[in-house]
């Protein structure tokens, strides 16, 4: 990572304005940006914007974009609400030192396919607030399809409600990139699941009314697009998704049968 100038602006507006120059880049955790070989002009550090907080409101929990993955992993409220899903989902990412730098904003902005966090946030019905001249909030599932822009992610919001999420991932080594991620919850009697590391970015699937869990599992395997890479074949990922989803549903039903 090579840059000529370092800036730590005092406001979101100032940071956004700096980021409109194509040769400038936002410095979130910096763990992926550090691999950029092409020199750029200014690294824009968000450290002074107060975005490193998790705020709890009566109906929502706001996670600032500079909140680190380790903060999420260890947050008592988020884990109690989700049945320790944040801990389960994030604890396999490289190491604590890495997770003390990697941020929510960096993960979401990049829409990484290998992200462990994005599938979990999808299942939690998260929204993203970003600044592009004004503040705007959209569901995460819509944001993932937005084209990349030079807007600034401010925060992620999840509803402040209990929603147990079961998270499973397959990895070739315990701290490496996932081969597949499958996070599942049951909401109003219907299964919702997010399949990540397909290897493409996560896809949210919801059980239809009158659809049996078994049929839903088969539909997830057939309708979600899986691809092959060095870590695994499309067939392997498709097979795994069915197994993981079945196990997740069983765990959510406390060992009950899949019908």
């Amino acid at each position: 990572m090579y840059y000529s100038h370092y800036a730590a602006p005092a406001s979101v507006e100032e940071a956004w304005a700096l980021n409109q120059k194509r040769s400038n880049h936002i410095l979130a955790g910096g763990l992926w940006l550090r691999f950029m070989k092409q020199p750029f002009d200014t690294a824009i550090d968000l450290k002074n914007l107060g975005l490193d907080r998790i705020d709890i409101f009566s109906d929502s929990i706001r996670i600032g974009s500079s909140v680190t993955l380790h903060q999420l992993e260890t947050d008592a409220t988020l884990n109690t609400m989700t049945g320790n899903a944040f801990r389960t989902s994030l604890q396999n990412i490289v190491g604590v030192q890495f997770r003390n730098a990697a941020t929510v904003g960096g993960t979401i902005f990049s829409r990484f396919g290998f992200s462990d966090l994005i599938p979990l946030l999808l299942v939690l019905d998260a929204s993203v607030t970003f600044y592009g001249g004004d503040h705007r909030t959209v569901p995460l599932r819509e944001f993932l399809d937005f084209p990349f822009s030079r807007d600034l992610i401010i925060s992620v919001e999840v509803p402040n409600q209990n929603r147990k999420v079961v998270c499973r991932s397959q990895r070739l080594s315990s701290t490496g990139f996932p081969v597949l991620v499958c996070d599942t919850a049951i909401v109003d009697g219907r299964v919702i699941t997010a399949i990540g590391a397909r290897p493409a970015r996560a896809r949210l699937m919801e059980q239809q009314l009158e659809e049996t869990p078994s049929h839903f599992i088969a539909r997830v395997q057939s309708d979600v697009r899986y691809e092959s890479n060095l870590m695994g074949s499309d067939a392997y990922r498709r097979y795994l998704s069915g197994i993981f989803l079945k196990r997740n549903i069983s765990e959510l039903n406390e060992g009950g049968m899949i019908l």
Partner: protein
Amino acid sequence: MTVSLILNGEKISAEIEPDQMLLNLLRSLGCKSIKCGCDTANCGACTVWVEGKPILSCSYPAARADGLEITTLEGVQEEAASFAGFMADQGADQCGYCNPGFVMNVLAMRRELPNPTEDDVKIYLAGNLCRCGGFVSQHRAIHAWLTQNAEEDQK
């Protein structure tokens, strides 16, 4: 540009390049315990504390550390020496290159997790890679050290 840090309890100002990483800065200031292992935020050999939290100094911009408290192995020598004895007893040191980062993370773990389980230890230390050993001896050393610390805390 100039940055001001509190390095191992001492206020320091230093001239840096804007894109200089903390690892390079700290080594230039005499903290030779910090090792550059992978330089890709994977191995943990470069672990230092920023505001008490373990981070990978090879991937942490020095400019970001302005005004912050930085702790290296040089700043926790007494506590580190205590743990190092257990590492030596269990034959957990071979080339020693991973050791400083490993020790920094173990000490950080004890501060963050007062009574870690075996799984807690494995998860917390997963970011410290050792090419020489098989991690078993290191876990034995940690377990023995934690046990002694717990006994001393009870006294």
